[in-house]
Symmetry: C2
Subunit: 107 residues, 2 copies
DNA sequence: CAGTGTGGTCGCAAATTTGCGACTTGTCAA
DNA sequence: TTGACAAGTCGCAAATTTGCGACCACACTG
């Protein structure tokens, strides 16, 4: 156990230092989890904004509620552009993907 | 054949009026083709910017050149977030997806 | 010409996602 | 409590994507 010298009020920051710092593989996994969660919530938000239940959106998209539920699960790793586009189309939107420079972990 | 009254210099616009106007299904297909093409070119551009050949990027990503080639094909319809993220990670980037209001076909 | 490097196509097995029904949980109201 | 509804979980077959080798076309260079 390393001596902790920097006082911290943020438990998350401690965790970050403990498990991720200097470990690119873990950082990639973190980034991936973050991206999946972000996608899931965007779908959920878009559906909520349209005032639809999962079942209603499912019908619009041409699938079932359990599928929508899966897409809105933060731990789901299988997002495909095809499905995202179907969701978007049903909600009168379109999907845009962007490649951005890697967000630098707070110094 | 409808009489064309509005003079046009843009063949693409004529095509658009002929085949897509008022046909939501076709418009969706168009949007999809557009999105696939855009994604393909973003990958290509990102790779070019990094100064890599398809084979080199493939090695970084952990796959083969033919796979990269396929991803850069404008007609490829199978883009997945998982693969896009692998590409991004190899090129020190991250992927962001956004749902945008449907672009209104030019009035 | 032969040799090499880059981009591209095709086919097929392996891995992954989608489709969907069955079932559980939680909430709200009669 | 019962009924109804929204959300969520699980398992499995079907569909789709990925992995990868073999092969073609081109351009360039010795």
């Amino acid at each position: 156990m390393p001596t902790i010298e920097t006082p911290t009020t943020d438990a998350l920051e401690i965790l970050h230092r403990e498990f991720y710092e200097g470990r690119p593989e873990r950082i990639a996994a973190l980034e991936e989890a973050r991206a999946n969660d972000a996608t899931a919530r965007k779908i959920q938000k878009l559906r909520a904004k349209a005032g639809l239940t999962q079942a209603q959106l499912a019908k619009l998209v041409g699938t079932t509620a359990s599928v929508i539920c899966r897409l809105e699960d933060a731990d789901y790793e299988g997002h495909s552009m095809a499905m995202l586009r179907r969701i978007a189309a049903a909600l009168n939107s379109r999907v845009e993907v962007r490649f951005l420079p890697l967000r630098r972990p707070a110094a």
